[in-house]
Symmetry: C2
Subunit: 135 residues, 2 copies
């Protein structure tokens, strides 16, 4: 599959050639995580049917689940109205999207109590990360 | 409300002082849109209970719905595991989040037919944009 296909030119890649990508769980519609894609990762995602991102911290392709086994099976890919955000509808293998061992990465909730504002962790750790990443 | 509150320092603002923000519909869990926030827009969102973004194109605060009446009532604010994406759970007044007159901005679906890949608009326009934005 060409990395310069017309359908990819539609996307407004940022100055680094990346686009933010939301992974949403099929069925529950819960948001699992947000990561980044470049042209090659998107092409590999479409070709393989599994989510392949671009790791900005490691500066490399990141086949989600390559170490943990927690792959994401892609059911649908959508693009927003101004062509700069991708949305993947995925089935999360193992039920854990977050490296902390949680279902979703969005586990910090803003709470306001008597005017005091703080972040609280409101989702349980389902599996010890040490047990997820064993090479 | 201080714009430099501790709870805001937790967020990893990008080089432009912005953070991508997902608006997700309470109940259906559908993703309505993705926009950006800076410190002031987030502070105003928390204080008012309505979504206030930062418009990168107009370089100004953007109280969603200020022209259309399609405000977003914020039920919950979440932050992801690496502190660089916000998630708002909102009630979308008027049912239309997208400037195209659609419920959601994510109406373009990637379709593969006999090896040909293209984007298709798969969500209906519910209201003519000309009828939404009349000052």
């Amino acid at each position: 599959m060409s990395q310069n296909a017309d359908w990819q030119d539609r996307i407004r890649w940022d100055a680094n050639g990346l686009v933010p990508t939301i992974a949403q769980e099929v069925g529950s519609n819960q948001i699992l995580m947000v990561a980044w894609m470049n042209r090659e990762s998107l092409a590999r995602t479409v070709a393989s049917g599994q989510a392949v991102y671009w790791s900005r911290s490691r500066n490399t392709l990141w086949h989600k689940g390559e170490e943990s086994g927690h792959f994401q099976k892609v059911h649908q890919i959508r693009l927003d109205c101004d062509d700069d955000v991708l949305l993947l509808q995925v089935e999360q293998v193992g039920g854990l999207a977050c490296h902390t061992g949680r279902h979703s990465c969005f586990f910090n909730e803003l709470q306001v109590n008597d005017g005091a504002i703080s972040w609280a962790e409101v989702e349980p750790v389902l599996k010890n990360p040490d047990d997820i990443y064993k090479k």
